[in-house]
Symmetry: C2
Subunit: 366 residues, 2 copies
Amino acid sequence: MGDARRYLTIDDEFQMLHGRLSRPTIAYETLGKLNHANDNAILVLTGLSASAHVASSQEDPTAGWWEDVVGPGKPIDTNRFFVICVCSLGSFFGSTCPASVNPDTSAPYRLSFPVLTLEDIAHGAKCVIDHLGIERLHSVVGASMGGMSALAFALMYPDAVYAMLNISAAANSQPFSIALRSLQRELVCKDPKWKNGDYPFDEQPEEGMRLARKLGMISYRSAQEWRDRFGRERITGNVPFAHDNPFGLDFEIEAYLTSRARSFMDAFDANCYIYLSRAVDLFDAADHGGSIQMAFNGLGIERATILGVQSDFLFPPERQLEIKTTMSSSGIDVSFQILDSIQGHDSFLVDMTRFRPAIAAHFKDS
Amino acid sequence: MGDARRYLTIDDEFQMLHGRLSRPTIAYETLGKLNHANDNAILVLTGLSASAHVASSQEDPTAGWWEDVVGPGKPIDTNRFFVICVCSLGSFFGSTCPASVNPDTSAPYRLSFPVLTLEDIAHGAKCVIDHLGIERLHSVVGASMGGMSALAFALMYPDAVYAMLNISAAANSQPFSIALRSLQRELVCKDPKWKNGDYPFDEQPEEGMRLARKLGMISYRSAQEWRDRFGRERITGNVPFAHDNPFGLDFEIEAYLTSRARSFMDAFDANCYIYLSRAVDLFDAADHGGSIQMAFNGLGIERATILGVQSDFLFPPERQLEIKTTMSSSGIDVSFQILDSIQGHDSFLVDMTRFRPAIAAHFKDS
């Protein structure tokens, strides 16, 4: 398997909201070609656990995390657009992160990595955009944490973006989602193998990560989907109430969560996870202007598409409605749609029947 | 402080769905007086963490868990009704439970306690009702797990109950709530101090219980309530991003969860908790007839009041609607109401403005 990643190493000191990094690297992938008018670039910012590999390419033919959305003739059409997907600063998939070596000390950052914010992630993405010679993006695109990072980007660089596609996100984090993420981080940090962040990288706090992932899966999907998929089915061949393990798994839903949670823990570094998780808590668009409305009044985008999902209880529809209403009050031309997907917060990754046309519509008239 | 509990010790062997107990004890409290017609008795079955102390009395003047609902002149009026609240079999508050000594072995049951079901809890309650000489209850009342236990009771003893008040419950458990409870149990059982159930009783797996309770609190309340109560308030005097503890608590919601979770872990035995939690997963009214409809066709109740709460995502309104629709199809006279409470699943314990009249209405015309 190939690797389509490019790496931008920032020669200067990189100022973060709560600290600084020496010569960080930002990983990214690109698809399509920048046109001569320099007006067909789309920046995709990612969710918490996604890499820069948004879609397959000649260099890396493996399917990307948004394979059905990005590509030739697809809703984000790489025959028309130059797509840049940036690996978030702090993420484990190639950009400088808490698992990276600090060039000033020659030791991994671990918890000496500065507190991370979505503004820092947007800043890292802007460095890539500048490096590529792009003055103004056609669109900044993001879902979930990526949608919040897209807001941060547009708020910080009002001249650098014409339009926004924002999916299943919010203008800030509210206590319910903060509580869930706080508990997820606690599950990681209570694992004795976390060792206050000083675990050997090949001995991750897997148990804590696995439990955090289970909780994530519960909050990312929806009750209706699981009811339809699993009902009260029991695990095939299971001996319920076995005397040697009376609290073993019994229902199919329990087996599903366990198998899926295992696959996640192999792929992510624990410290990176808790830094990114906290960054989502910390984001508040109001920090850019005193209130969300005052902040949005400073946006430079001319139009936006705001999408949400009826069954999403982590970023519920009223959060997207708030973005829509506030942007409209700022004079931005907003297209708004709450989709009937049953897969909850994760719908943008799975309910392609609904999301493909909704995403395509954003790019139709431009 | 006094103790109003009575204890019924069952002389015979007590047959459970998945085992048997020798001479178990069922704790209960009563309020009011049984009338000569023997037709004013109300059985209250409890949620997972409640005791038999439903309301204050002369013997125990401390406030009960439903103090605003049960008492003289209150919605469940002890001037009119003889109220019996039974401590669930398996619960830590006086009935035989996994922490009790098995008289056959003189050692605590721990995980040798048979798998517990809500049918067993209903069976224990029926023993109390028989002991008190009550042939037919005016009503069986329950919320949450208590509502499911009330269904179990009415299904098992169709001649023993005239009416039902069922609050924020469901005819069975669905994968979303099973997933949450499964993860809660896992948090307890992964605590090294759980020791496969063999912990000393004064050295509970407090950490696991505390984490399970946090998750419970997240699922018992609602996003809207927390948004109204906490917003993005930071902890007073907090030093965010402290270098010695970069992932300490920061937001008020995190402090709230931590303080509330601590208070719980002192009051409950870990094994009892996981037995009761699993009992909720296992309940399915359809086990009493092949389908929920066929089971409900065998009910002996003449009328029912089914209440739910708009903001409850653990037992969402469609679950109460299912009970209502199915009972109506069985010819039962059903009163149905979904309340606008914002406190989620726990609303029946806190939103007295809405619940008092809704509960009172059930007893008005009888």
